[in-house]
Structure formats: structure tokens, C-alpha cells
Symmetry: C2
Subunit: 237 residues, 2 copies
């Protein structure tokens, strides 16, 4: 049989295959806390439980798995997150009551104000403090996915300025340091943090300043691709 003929006769739906979903762990930073986006499930299974935003691949619309995640997050937040990275793929017979299932999980970051107005209008979508979410009984194995995403984010905060994606487009160095500290869970030395960031040349000084109580601090924005930069020594050292 030729390949052409084989493909004409091939029907995916004739073979049993695990249920396939995509889930996103979307973080933001707001008022001193690291937060994660959760959805209260309105359908079976696990109806009524809080869950990570997720869904199925749309074979007509999506050209990649990242397209799927972005489409789902846009439905929930109205905007596309500036940072998205594949985290891990979980699979097994028991994680979903509908049967053997696989989910490809992603970590994403967004500024709180970027989607604030949209999220406030939707009743079953909310930002939850990560510390609180970690103690909730989330749907499926989402607790495990959240835990893994939290760990990955901690590594990112130690070795890169990826946490800046949880801030508005312009931010001060004390604000950036604060997000890093909240994610790492420890205070960082101000002088050393500032020097490391400056030496790596990751930020652009916008020329503007903002004062928050104290003296005015310079406003920065990220240089293009500076989220990809990895520090050789972590920022705690």
C-alpha cells in the first residue's frame, strides 16, 4: 500500500487515545503578593472546584500547543501574556476521572493591571494568593502542577529577570527587587541586586521617575530578549 492510500484510509478516531488537555499556571504580582489565576469549574468533572485555566486543542484554530494556551488565556483575561514557557507534561490513568489523560502545562506571567478590568467583570475567574492556593483542594492534579510551576518560577527568579513580566511595562528597581524577593522567599541585598542587574545591561532607563513616599526612583523597562538572559551565579550570592 502506498503512503497516500494509507493516509486516505487512516482515521485517528478509530484508535483509543488518552484525553489531551493544556493547562496554564498564570502568575502575577499585586500588592506585595504572588498570585495565580484560578477558575471555578462550572462543568463536570470536578464541578465547583477551583482549577488552573485549561482546555482542549482546537485543531482548526491552533497551529501549535502554545497557540492553544494563548487562546485559552485570552478567553479568561482578554490579553496575551508577555511571557509563556512550557513547564512539564503530566499523564496517567487516574488524574482525570474521564480516563487516561495527558496535560501539557505552561507557566506564564502577566502584569496585574493588564487584565484587571476584565477579570473583575467575570464571576468564576480570580487571582488567588499562591500561598492560599497551595492549601486549597484544586481540581485534578492541579496542586501538583502549581507546585512544579512555583519551583520553576523560583529558579527563574534566582537566575533571570523573568519576574519582571509580572510587573507593568515600566517599573522601578525597588519594585523589581520586591517581586524577586517575594518569589524567592528571602530578602536580597539592595546594592548587589542593583549592580548585578546593571552589569548585565538588561533594562532600559526610560528617563522618567516615580516617587513612592521616598525620593524619586528611575523607571525602567525590559530590553528586548532580556528575559532569556541567565546569570551564571544566582542573585542571592
Amino acid at each position: 500500500m502506498s503512503e497516500e492510500k494509507y493516509l486516505q484510509n487512516y482515521k485517528k478516531t478509530l484508535f483509543e487515545s488518552p484525553l489531551l488537555t493544556v493547562d496554564a499556571v498564570l502568575f502575577t504580582y499585586h500588592q506585595g503578593d504572588l498570585k495565580v489565576l484560578l477558575i471555578e469549574r462550572s462543568n463536570h468533572p470536578e464541578k465547583g472546584k477551583w482549577a488552573l485555566p485549561g482546555g482542549f486543542v482546537d485543531e482548526k484554530k491552533d497551529r501549535s500547543l502554545e497557540d492553544t494556551v494563548i487562546r485559552i488565556l485570552k478567553q479568561k483575561t482578554s490579553v496575551e501574556p508577555p511571557y509563556i514557557e512550557q513547564l512539564y507534561t503530566f499523564g496517567g490513568p487516574d488524574r482525570d476521572k474521564r480516563g487516561w489523560s495527558v496535560t501539557i502545562s505552561y507557566t506564564a506571567l502577566i502584569a496585574h493591571q493588564a487584565c484587571r478590568s476584565h477579570i473583575e467583570t467575570v464571576s468564576n475567574v480570580d487571582w488567588m494568593n499562591v500561598a492560599r492556593a497551595e492549601k486549597m483542594e484544586l481540581a485534578f492534579d492541579h496542586q501538583q502542577i502549581l507546585y512544579r510551576a512555583r519551583e520553576r518560577l523560583r529558579q527563574k527568579a534566582l537566575y533571570s529577570i523573568v519576574p519582571a513580566y509580572a510587573l507593568p511595562e515600566t517599573f522601578t528597581l525597588p519594585e523589581l527587587q520586591r517581586v524577586h524577593e517575594v518569589i524567592i522567599g528571602k530578602p536580597l541585598q539592595k546594592k548587589s541586586f542593583r549592580r548585578r542587574i546593571e552589569q548585565a545591561n538588561l533594562l532600559i532607563d526610560t528617563g522618567e521617575k516615580r516617587s513612592e513616599g521616598g525620593r524619586p526612583a528611575a523607571l525602567y523597562r525590559m530590553r528586548e530578549k532580556s528575559g532569556d538572559y541567565t546569570f551564571v551565579r544566582n542573585l542571592e550570592q
Copy 2:
């Protein structure tokens, strides 16, 4: 409707879902070269092309995605690799002619002698020099998967002794250094390499020695979990 009733009526096969496979990039070290296991495809699609070993989840047999990979690798090599790690999940409408498809890829390492006799008896399975495989027209997007696995392995060789899993259970320090050098693609300083490995206390001296031309060298084996150890500075420094 209750969840129980919902689950009774739920049929996975009623929903179109991407084709789901698992692929493994199994590396070994033999006679000075890094090698990868390839299979000559005997079925459509891409019949006749060389491909990474892979296959479908068996919902009856497999309790996890790692079970799937191990089952498939055991079919090809007769043994279970001592090192296996999830690499990345690739998905899209064009990577497989049968339609929208997703593959969860894994990197694995094994000693050449552990499966030598089995592989020699099978006609369509072979170890290929990685440098050569990278120039071949592999099936599907397997060239891209191989490239990513090669990069991940390079990072592992810089920051851990994971490459030791491509050696027999006992090995000399010069042998371990050689595998690291082949994977990294650069010579390492002998004295510094030896000191770094010793300081991290990752190996157990078996008390035996082996001479290969020169003076006898001590034979080591890996301490339990020493593959998880990450050097703070990479081994080139």
C-alpha cells in the same frame, strides 16, 4: 446531572483529539563517539526513514508516560535505561501527515554494552553517531527533537555527572572525563575535573583498578542519586 451520570455518558472517542505519541532520544557512548538509537520505519507514514524510537500510550499497561517510554525502549533494547528524563512536548498540525499531533519526548542514557547483544540481532534498530544522525533526513520532526535533546545533554554534561549513565556500571575517571568532553565538544582540565568530582563526593571507589595501556586507574561507580547533583559553576570553569 450528577458527576456519576456525566462520567457514565462520557465517551472520549466522540471528541476529535490530536494524535498522541511518546518519543525517546536514547544516547550512549561507544569507542569515542556519542551515539543515538534510531529505528528504520517499517510502516507508513514515513516508511523507510530513520526515526527515534516511539509509540502510543497503552492505556491498559501504562501507569504513566514514563511507563510508556520505558516499555517502548525495552522492546527495542531488551533493557531499561538507568537514566530517563522528560525533555519537551512538541505539537502542531504539520509534524505528522496523519493530522494534528503531539509527542512527549524523553532523553535517556544507557551503557553500550548493556544492550549490545540484543541490538545486534535486530535488523532495523541501530546506534548512529550523533554527528551523522544530525545530518540525516529523519522522520517527522525528529531532527528537531534530537537537536533539543543534544542541547539538554550538553547542559547536563556541564553541570552534572549524568553522562556517567552512558558508561558501564564501573568506570575510570579518565573515561568519565572523555564522555563529558565528547558531549561538551571541548577538552577539560584533568586536574580540575578530578578535583570537582571528588569534592562533590559523587562516586564510590570500588577498590578495583583497570589498566589501559598506561598505569592502572581506579574503578568507580556512581553513588545513589548522584545524577541529581548540580554543580554551581559549570565543569569548564
